[in-house]
Every structure is written in structure tokens, then in C-alpha cells.
Amino acid sequence: MSAGGIRPARPFPEAARDTLQDAQMRRNLKHATTTIREKRLRAVAELPDWEALRTRGAELKDASLSDLAEQLLTLEAAVKRCGGQVHWARDAAEACRIVTDLAALHGAREIIKVKSISTDEIELNAALEQRGIQAIETDLAELIVQLAGDTPSHILVPAIHKNRAEIRDLFRQKLGAELLTDEPKVLAEAARLYLREKFLSTKVAVSGANFAIAESGTVCIVESEGNGRMCLTLPDVLISVMGIEKVLPQWADIAPFMQLLPRSSTAERMNPYTSFWSGVIPGDGPQEFHLVLLDNGRTDVLADEAARQTLRCIRCSACLNVCPVYERAGGHAYGSVYPGPIGAILTPQLLQLEDENANTLPWASSLCGACYDACPVKINIPEILIYLRGQITPHKSHNLENTVESIAMKTAAWIFNEPFRFEGALKLARTGQGPLVQHGAIHALPGLLGGWTSSRNLPAFPAKSFRELWREEGEV
């Protein structure tokens, strides 16, 4: 069964129309995102220098990306020094081949997996299955999703669209567990028993990586349940698939990320377990370690100066939890293993803006900016969304060519580029809007622009812009 990959089967508006019908999913999602959102604000408020930390996180990632070849070579040398092996994979197929070859070499019929989006991205489970090797997901939520033949709907809580009764039925059916209640505790116990046996008997494990430290060859996995520790410790062979953007130059650089990541993702001060390891450790853990460095479109993102910051992402999912579009449409609507605001910018870019369906994702946003405020590494998602809309519209998509929106976006990009143009445009808009304004809002725009106001009002432009008021105060 495939975990999804990054090629959406349908355009976002079409997929979202369907997912919007799923009331259960929306209730679960609303509950989850609201809960995590509130908790997160408290967790973030505890650290006095959150803004400085975000800046530091962004700077560190940018520094590493600006010197990426060197960092990867340093990492490679260090991993080898510590007794590990390093593989380079240009695309998903190559990465899958490396991992399946290694698993087959060890005669594995089954491998255990730590939850990892990069292996979902390359559709590793399907590739393994083709070679007759079954991948067993060991994260509770991933296991639920896998048993259900479903795909994850959230980066962090992949089974958030399922409720306890559904999960109980699933475990009864697939694990043959006798479950008297649907208490989460009882369900977790059933999974524990099933997986414990797998942990103790399986020889090959596959993981992703949250971070890797170039100078020491240290790889890091951040998790909650201990299934990660089990996979990283008990098998004989460990294979970790890591996007090349995950590397950090020095050990000291991990500090801000261990502060930013848990508070942004689960809204905790710290996640229950984090593992760091360097190569193989004699007498402790797997005695064979392989690190697969994955490109799969990342160097194209790197080459695009305007959107490069996308690669700072640490997959915390904070942007999902604050996004009004995600909250309603749900993760499945995005058709990619990367849902929500980050998915809307990352998915089309990883596909070189060549995939028609993925190219609809940058429009899956209200541009409210909440994702930018939440992002612990300050990725300016709204800016990149607008930029990608501009990129996609004229060149890539025939049916979007020269639509009103494409022209509007091109104009907007031109206007926003220079402050004087922006101010000029505001003045123009104020003068032009006169006949359209009723009670401080525009209810119906003329002509083709009417699509914009058919389901919402456009607030009228104020009599004076913020910049004008500011200047009048004598501050500029």
C-alpha cells in the first residue's frame, strides 16, 4: 500500500470539495488544531526570547544551505569515520532502489519503520512491497493509517481524522485483538503488544532524520512513543533517509532547534524522546548504518533564490494548525504527503512546477499570514505563495493563462516590489472605489473581478494609508 507520495491525483479545488463533505474529519481536525494552537501559545510564551530564537533558527538554516555541498561532504566524511555508509539519491526512484537493495541484501521479508515523511515522499513502502518486503509502520498513528489502507492527514498526528471507535474496529479486524472498550489506553496497549514482537524480531529498520550534524556525523530523531528508539536501537541494520536540507554544520547549532521544534509542533517543552547517534556504536545498537542523502527536487528549490527559504522547514506542522484553509479542507485535500501551508509551497516546487494538479496548491490559501507568524524558522509562506502563483500562471498552466487572476498577480508583484508604486496604487484604489463602497465595504466588484466578491465582501480602502498616517506623525 502506498503512503501517498507528492503527486496529487486531482486539483486542490476538486479534492477539497469532497473532503469538505466529511463532517467527522472536520470536527476532529477543528478539535485538534484548536487544542494544539492554544497549547502552543502557552509553550512559546515561556521562552522569553522566542522571536530571537526564530531568527536564529532561520539564520542557521540559511547559513547551512548557503554552503550545502561542503556541509554534505563533511557529514559524509564524519559518518564514514564513525563506521556508517553514505548513499546519494538524485530522485525518489534512486532512493527507493538503494533502500530496497539493502533490505533485500539482508534477506529481509519485513522491515520496521519510524514515522518519516521523506520515505512517504518517495513512496518507499510501495517500492518495498514490489520486492516482496513488507514495511511495518511503528508509530501508532502511522500504524492505524497503514492498517486502514489510508493516507496520513496531518504531519504530526497522521490519524487525526479517525476516532476511537473506528480504531477499535480496525484493531479487532487487522490485529485480531480482543478489545472490550475503545479507551485510548486499551487501544495503545493492543498496538504495544503487536509491535513489541516486531521490534524484537525484525533485523532491518528504516527511519528519516530530523537533523544531521555535519562535523560529528550525528543523526537525530525526535519522537514521543519510543517506537523510534526501538527501531534505532534493536535491529541489526539501520537505514536513514534524509532530505539534504536537514544538515546543520556544528553540534552547537542543534540547540535552538531543540527549543523551537517541540514547542512549535506538539506544544510541549520537550518531546518525550530524542535520539542522537553517530555511525555505528560498537556493542550498542545496529552494527550497520546507512545514511541516504535525498535530493528529489530539493536542489531545484535551492536554485530558486526567491523560494529557497522553503528548505528551512523543520516539519513541525505549526503552519497546518493555524491555517483556516487546512482546518476546513483537511490534509487529504492537498493530495501530497506535505499538506497545509508548507505543502502548498513545497509540493509544487519539488515537482519543478511541472505538475498541473500540484500547481493548484499555491491557491489553497487565504493569504492571511498566520502560517508565517507561527513558523519557527520564519519561512515567509504567503510571500512564496504569491511568488509561485506568479511563476505558475504565465508559463506552466495553459488553462490558467491570462486569467484575470494571473494578470492581477503579475500586477500585484510589480506593485509590491517598490514602495512608491504600492502607495500610488493605494491612492488610485481609493479614488476608484468611490461608487462601489457601501457601509465601508465593497459588496460587488464589477466585471470579471466579481468572482472575488461573490462570496465575501472586500473592506473598503481607508481614507489614509498606514504609511501616510505614519508620515504625518513625523516618524519617517
Binding site: 544551505l65 548557503s66 560529528s216 512513543e225 519510543g226 535552538p256 510541549e268 555511525g279 556504536i281
Partner: protein, 203 residues
């Protein structure tokens, strides 16, 4: 094959990176100025919030506390754990298999560093801490933390662990017992790791 991929990826990166290498400063981490007692108290409080069972003991009381806490249990004690604290004959042999480990009720270890900001204990799997499987498979982990091992912040802990990491040692950061919130976001302790974590802070 692989060499070809490596070369091509490195070429792509070189072509992609237009600008100069961004230099980044790494000023030394200033040591916390908060009073020790406050730092240690916060560590104990935060660890307890993560549902670790926290005890505090003086050096002198420690053996008594350990004996009482672990009486009647089949306890695994890694090599290098101070024998005078828990005189039960050390049961751990390096060749103990993973399945054997499951037969122990509890494992008793020291740690490398503890962090007040988050209520975390960190093992670098040196003497007294055992290889990684030891603190993973038994259902109860009892960890002795000396108050001077508690640092205030995550960056301080990272600095303190630098030597171990550069020496190639693995690290395990532990904040409370194993937990999941995957089913309707209700927190359940112990899916895979130890379901019970006891931390003994020694003053």
C-alpha cells in the same frame, strides 16, 4: 552508480548556490545566573509535570531510598553504576539479549545532564547508564540525577554534551515516560518505551 549520483547532486548544488557562503557567529553560551536551588527545583517540577515520579534525597539517604523503591523488583544495573548506592549484585552482562532484557522489572541508571528549562534527562550511555537497549526495554526506568548535573537551559545542555557527541557517543534525551496522543489527542503513557519513569534528584 552511486559515485555518479554523488557527483551530479554536488554539481546541482554548486550551480544552485548563487550567493556567497553566509558566515554565522557562535558566541559562547553564557552560564545561567539563577540560583542553583531554583534551577534544580524547576527541573524537578517540570519533570513531574511530564508524569515522571520525582523523588529528592540527600547523598546519605540515597541507598535507603533506592532499596525501598526497588525492593522485590528484578532490577537491571548497568556497569559503572556506583555499587555502594545499590548493593544488589550487578545483574547486567554485556551479552544480555534484547529478549532477556524484557524479563527485568526495572533498570537503574545515572545520567549525563538534566535540563531545567524542559524537565529532561539526557543519557550519553557512558558508565552507569548502559547501552541504549537497557533503558528502553524494561518497563520502569529509575534515573539518579545529581543536582550539580542540572543545567538551566537547552543551549547549556548542548554545550555540556559537546564532548560526548564529538567522541561519537549516542545520546538519549528523555522527558517523562513514553507517551502518545495519537488517538483523539488523549495522552496515553507508554506505547513502547518504559511506562514508568522515576527520577531521583540527589542534593
Amino acid at each position: 552508480m552511486s559515485g555518479e549520483a554523488r557527483l551530479e547532486m554536488l554539481t546541482r548544488i554548486h550551480r544552485a548556490a548563487a550567493g556567497p557562503k553566509l558566515e554565522i557567529e557562535r558566541p559562547p553560551i553564557p552560564a545561567s545566573t539563577r540560583p542553583r536551588a531554583e534551577i534544580v527545583a524547576q527541573f524537578a517540577e517540570y519533570a513531574a509535570e511530564y508524569r515522571a515520579e520525582v523523588h529528592r534525597a540527600s547523598e546519605a539517604d540515597l541507598p535507603v531510598l533506592l532499596a525501598a523503591l526497588l525492593s522485590g523488583q528484578n532490577v537491571l544495573v548497568p556497569e559503572g553504576f556506583p555499587a555502594q548506592l545499590f548493593p544488589q549484585p550487578a545483574t547486567h552482562k554485556p551479552q544480555t539479549t534484547h529478549a532477556d532484557l524484557a524479563a527485568y522489572d526495572a533498570v537503574l541508571t545515572t545520567c549525563a545532564v538534566a535540563i531545567a528549562e524542559t524537565g529532561t534527562v539526557v543519557l550519553d550511555h557512558g558508565a552507569g547508564q548502559g547501552r541504549r537497549a537497557l533503558t528502553l526495554i524494561p518497563d520502569w526506568h529509575v534515573c539518579v540525577v545529581r543536582s550539580e548535573q542540572v543545567v538551566d537551559s537547552v543551549p547549556e545542555a548542548v554545550a555540556a554534551l559537546q564532548e560526548a557527541v564529538l567522541a561519537g557517543r549516542p545520546l538519549t534525551w528523555i522527558s517523562g515516560p513514553s507517551a502518545t496522543s495519537d488517538i483523539e489527542l488523549s495522552r496515553v503513557e507508554g506505547v513502547h518505551g518504559p511506562r514508568r519513569l522515576s527520577i531521583i534528584v540527589v542534593d
